[in-house]
């Protein structure tokens, strides 16, 4: 008999998760005020289903909770109870209590806790019209919103796998590839029929291995939709806790992304949303006075772009004030004349460490609270972040993240005996270095490409590899900051997907290198971080006090052949 019940529970659990997610989403939709009646009906039906199923598998607590909630929802439908924020909050708390019960059953503890009874009591009280806004409700929901992030993971019909296990699989596949390459080399020497047969077999193995690699890669990908939708609740609860009104609009277009990216960007995203609410969205009265909807809107937008994912987090709040940020920059002595900087450069200064302290940032119009932490975490997963803002109109953060941290599409290049991999998403074209260009052997210079000057960096010199370059060098044209630049290398090795190996703590601060990879012959190649690499070079050419010898380099190359 127990066996039967276990089986029933097995099918009930995922269903319960899905229903609870659906109820939560509908409750949030209720607050937008549209189709309230229809949405209430939906909530009622879902609650009823949950109650019935819970009763049938013998989960009394969940059933009781469902029953109490059903009564309240029914009263709301009939109009006997007014639809108010406290009621919705209470129903959301009911969802939480139900989730806790489900989680306990999943852990095999069969409804041990009794905390749900308190929720049932309050639901009954609400049904009688005696709902009092619990004083600490706001605080509680805010706490839940910030602390329970980890539980927001999706509950689709799937199992959870530790990311380390997937990492291990990717590692093993990498080793498998290396082993196969060695066998293939040996096989080439095998003559006769047997050799041919073995080589055919090997080809089939190759195909399977590639498919396996792709499958493991795909297993790491999760849709961003559920991840983002989880924040609808966070935003609502946080806004209420701070006396604001805000809702989150999610536009995700079925974008999928590596779990590792999600894990490592989660904190930063929470931080950015909290910033948008605390520093972006104005209090309802101020918004009304400014002629805006009292309920602020935060948009979370995801799209595939340049082989990665582009996130945009924008709010229609107060925006950042140039004057105040400039004043703060001056006070910190970060820049001699911040007023003269263009918007994006001025605003990007908020990413500097220690730009604002917690107490001052709330007086300052802008954000800046821990924005350096956000930038660091974005950069640690090879992403970039950019801020745009218009005072009175809101702020928008554009974040570019890689789809996966496990593998990249890269162009392998050689310089002397060393190999480097340039991420393909940065590569625009390849060409030969015109003879005579950069003839001085220095690190930087200009070449003519399609009638235009292209700034070039010779990696051999930049990396201090020594030796003299071959007579014919190649140029990899890369995109950098909206412009083009050339990386001068000895030879091009071909492109392919490679498994990224982290370089570890020792090399954490190496600028221009984002990781490493193991090539087909077993040797290690550095993966270049083009933006950081060129950012360093260009930063040096800017108005910053740079040593003179380096400033002289570009002019020395002026005489490139026409």
């Amino acid at each position: 008999m127990d066996c039967d019940r276990d089986e029933l529970l097995q099918t009930f659990m995922p269903e319960a998760h899905e229903i609870l997610d659906e109820i939560e989403r509908a409750l949030l939709q209720l607050e937008t005020g549209r189709d309230a009646h229809e949405v209430l009906q939906r909530i009622f039906r879902a609650t009823h289903t949950l109650k019935g199923s819970a009763g049938s598998v013998g989960l009394g607590g969940l059933s009781e909770l469902g029953h109490a909630a059903e009564d309240v929802i029914e009263a709301l439908c009939r109009g006997e109870l007014p639809l108010s924020t406290p009621v919705v909050s209470l129903l959301l708390e009911t969802v939480d209590a139900a989730r806790r019960l489900v989680a306990e059953v999943e852990r095999g503890q069969a409804e041990r806790s009794t905390s749900y009874r308190e929720v049932v009591a309050r639901l009954e009280e609400a049904r009688r019209g005696g709902l009092k806004a619990k004083e600490d409700a706001g605080a509680a929901s805010a706490r839940r919103a910030t602390e329970d992030d980890a539980e927001g993971a999706t509950s689709l019909k799937s199992i959870r796998v530790a990311v380390e296990k997937l990492d291990r699989m990717a590692d093993l596949i990498g080793e498998l590839t290396l082993g196969r390459n060695r066998i293939a080399r040996t096989l080439r020497a095998v003559r006769g029929e047997a050799g041919a047969a073995l080589r055919d077999e090997m080809e089939e193995q190759d195909r399977l291995c590639k498919e396996l690699e792709e499958a493991v890669r795909a297993a790491r990908m999760v849709p961003v939709g559920p991840w983002f939708r989880y924040y609808e609740r966070t935003v609502r609860d946080l806004a209420h806790a701070h006396g604001r009104q805000a809702r989150l609009v999610v536009v995700h277009g079925d974008v999928e992304v590596d779990t590792a990216v999600v894990e490592r960007f989660r904190d930063a995203l929470t931080h950015l949303l909290r910033n948008a609410i605390c520093h972006g969205i104005e209090p309802p009265e101020a918004r009304r006075a400014a002629g805006k909807d009292p309920c602020g809107m935060i948009t979370l937008h995801a799209a595939h772009e340049r082989g990665g994912i582009a996130l945009r987090i924008s709010d229609d709040g107060a925006g950042m004030s140039r004057e105040r940020i400039a004043a703060r920059v001056c006070a910190l002595g970060r820049h001699p004349a911040p007023e003269t900087l263009p918007d994006h450069e001025l605003f990007s200064l908020v990413f500097e460490p220690g730009f604002s302290t917690a107490t001052e940032s709330s007086h300052l119009a802008g954000r800046g609270m821990g924005m350096d932490v956000v930038r660091r975490s974005v950069e640690s997963i090879q992403g970039t972040i950019r801020i745009e803002s218009r005072e009175e109109h809101g702020t928008s953060l554009s974040i570019q993240l890689p789809l996966t941290l496990a593998t990249i599409e890269g162009l392998s290049v050689g310089i002397g005996g060393e190999r480097y991999v340039i991420p393909l998403r940065a590569v625009l074209a390849c060409c030969d270095l015109p003879r005579g260009t950069l003839a001085h052997g220095g690190a930087q210079g200009l070449m003519i490409r399609r009638g235009r000057a292209l700034p070039c960096v010779r990696l051999r010199a930049l990396f201090g590899l020594g030796g003299s370059p071959p007579p014919d060098e190649r140029v990899v044209v890369v995109a950098h900051d909206g412009a083009e630049a050339g990386l001068v290398v000895d030879l091009l090795d071909g492109e392919g997907r490679t498994v990224v190996k982290p370089l570890g703590q020792l090399f954490r601060r190496v600028r221009g290198i984002s990781g490493s990879t193991i090539l087909g012959d077993g040797s290690v190649a550095m993966i270049l971080d083009v933006d950081a690499l060129l950012g360093g070079v260009l930063g040096d050419l800017g108005p910053v006090d740079a040593p003179d010898e380096r400033r002289a380099a570009p002019s020395a190359a002026g005489g490139s052949p026409g």
Binding site: T384, G464, G504, Q505, D540
Partner: protein, 184 residues
């Protein structure tokens, strides 16, 4: 093998660098592997030779000879890499040390280990656990957590044997905060 029962014994594995014998706690030594191709990591001090592929794992390789102010190790048929485990910024990390040869496993009791003299040795006193006399030789016991700390390894070392006219370190790698903000 057990000496005096009075003081506890610890095992060390010893190795040769530039003719001198050094040792590390055996619990920190993971394995000794053949020297294989290393790839250079740009803009690193000379003591960091590069990285090697240790069965799919990318491991930094350190030339302690350079760190000790000696000429760089010349790779020969006997050159090996001693893989040690140390903690870098709270993360367990494997590092490879270039060694000219493997010594012995030494079992030393505490009273066999002497404090290193303040000068005379190639290694700074704070980077040593002590030294021991084994037969007629002196073996320096390295404190690898110290000598292999990032601060120590990445310290701007004595100007390495860089080629004349060698380029500067990557510009902008230190300071120049204004250039950092405007990335796409």
């Amino acid at each position: 093998m057990i000496s005096d029962a009075s003081s506890p014994v610890t095992q060390y594995v010893s190795f040769i660098i530039a003719g001198d014998e050094y040792a590390v706690n055996i619990l920190r030594a993971r394995e000794i592997v053949e020297h294989s191709v290393t790839s250079r990591v740009p803009m690193m001090p000379a003591c960091i030779v590069g990285v090697m592929n240790l069965r799919g794992r990318v491991v930094p390789v350190i030339d302690l000879a350079v760190k000790l102010g000696l000429p760089p190790t010349r790779v020969s048929r006997w050159t090996c890499v001693l893989i040690v485990e140390t903690e870098l910024d709270g993360e367990n990390t494997r590092l490879g040390l270039l060694i000219d040869g493997v010594g012995d496993v030494l079992t030393l009791s505490e009273d066999e280990i002497e404090r290193a003299p303040a000068f005379g040795a190639q290694v700074r006193v704070d980077q040593l656990l002590g030294m021991a006399k084994v037969g007629q030789k002196l073996v320096l016991l390295l404190n690898i957590d110290r000598i292999l700390s990032p601060a120590e390894l990445l310290a701007p070392a004595t100007p390495g044997p860089s080629a004349p006219g060698a380029p500067p370190a990557l510009p902008g790698s230190h300071g120049a905060p204004a250039g950092e903000g405007d990335r796409p």
